[in-house]
């Protein structure tokens, strides 16, 4: 392809405590950006947990965190993560992507 579309970068990401997830699929069904789906793997209790299938669509809106009945998942905007990092005055381990 000659005119490749510019790579779309997500505005946020999700954080998951894998072992407390019970696979209820609330976050997957009600994600407004439809960017989550079930994993192929199981967690230790035998549930399929959500994975960020299309990270470029995630806005970090934290609606998954508001829905999650098991307090397993939450979303966060890159902007807010960066702000916290600056507030804590810590050098990023991985340089921010340009």
């Amino acid at each position: 392809m000659s005119d490749a579309a510019p790579v779309k970068k997500g505005k946020g990401t999700i954080f998951l405590t894998l072992e407390v997830c019970k696979g209820c699929s609330y976050c997957i069904d009600f994600c407004p950006a439809h960017c989550l789906e079930f994993s192929r793997e199981f967690n230790r209790k035998g549930y399929h947990y959500p994975v960020l299938a299309s990270p470029e669509d995630c806005t970090g809106c934290d609606l998954c965190g508001l829905y999650c009945p098991d307090f397993a998942i939450f979303g966060m905007r890159f902007k807010d993560i960066e702000q916290r990092r600056q507030a804590a005055a810590v050098e990023p381990l991985v340089p921010a992507r340009g």
């Binding site: 407390v20 209820c24 609606l63 508001l66 829905y67 009945p69 307090f71 966060m76 381990l93």
Partner: protein
């Protein structure tokens, strides 16, 4: 590479709910697809937004699945006997009027069946409490018996041919008894539920919030309604937001339309305010109004 050579670590990012929970008690016992955890999320968001001093917030709950909320919340929390969450909270509120908010967090069976009398009298007195009633239409913890909120036609373990008892219309009950704030939201309406809880935390007087939640293990399975997420889709499809609706018309039917919204928001003197006003009028300067240092806030 030794540990000292590592660069200063990245910031620790924790779940915004985590500070409000007793982490040592997690994971909780609620079933996969149960909506109670979602209402807890909404409650913690409301607590964050309200800016209340958490040392002066107490949460009281009775017995049942929802009754376990008090055990999981990292606030001053009390797990009382069956149905007696409201009388305990009343005593707590009057014994320590300095508390910013006393929240009663319990289920429909606890609040409207065995604690039904306490609910109507606390509403009548306009006791300064916020009552969150998580309504899952059944007694979840004891095995799916018919609750006072089970809609007509729903099958339960004690009604294998379907329920024929008329269910409670909880917002109408609370409204008729004199609650100052009555709202109903489902677990699907997370943002609205969090906002209702925020308004409830800021409101003086008896606040009643009904949160409809799915019970996938007992109610949904007995009635072949699918999983928790299928109930949420039903809430999404059949719910209608009517703010200020007449509470007489908001009764629930089996898998029928759900009227959600803020139904009542009015002002009435709370029990303590009424008592202080009454005795001040009666005894004049001889009476010292009862209340803590923060009572005038």
């Amino acid at each position: 590479m030794s540990a000292t050579e590592l660069p200063a670590c990245e910031i620790e990012i924790t779940n915004p709910v985590a500070p409000y929970l007793r982490q040592e008690r997690l994971p909780h016992i609620w079933c996969p697809g149960c909506g109670i955890g979602t209402t807890v999320n909404c409650f913690t968001r409301a607590l964050t937004d309200s800016g209340l001093d958490l040392d002066r917030v107490a949460i009281v709950s009775g017995i049942g699945c929802t009754g376990r909320v008090a055990g999981y919340m990292n606030l001053d929390s009390f797990h009382t006997t069956h149905g007696r969450a409201i009388p305990f909270a009343t005593g707590l509120r009057l014994g320590n009027p300095d508390l910013a908010k006393v929240v009663v967090y319990s289920g429909d069976g606890d609040l409207s069946a065995i604690g039904g009398n306490h609910l109507i009298h606390a509403a009548r007195r306009n006791m300064d409490l916020m009552v969150v009633c998580v309504n899952n239409f059944t007694y979840g913890m004891t095995g799916g018996q018919v609750a006072p909120t089970t809609p007509i036609g729903a099958t339960q373990t004690t009604m294998p041919y379907g329920n024929f008892e008329n269910p409670f219309n909880l917002p109408f009950l609370a409204d008729a008894c004199g609650a100052v704030y009555v709202a109903r939201w489902t677990v699907y309406h997370v943002k609205q539920l969090a906002k209702a809880m925020l308004e409830g935390l800021k409101k003086k007087g008896f606040v009643f919030i009904e949160a409809m939640a799915p019970c996938p293990t007992l109610y949904s399975r007995r009635n072949r309604l699918g999983d928790g997420v299928d109930q949420l889709k039903y809430y999404k499809e059949k719910s209608k937001v009517v703010n200020g609706a007449n509470t007489q018309d908001v009764g629930l039917t089996f898998q029928g339309d759900i009227v959600v919204g803020k139904f009542v928001d009015r002002e009435r003197p709370t029990w303590l305010e009424a008592m202080n006003a009454h005795y001040t009028q009666h005894f004049g300067d001889k009476y010292t109004p009862y209340g803590g240092p923060h009572a005038q806030e």
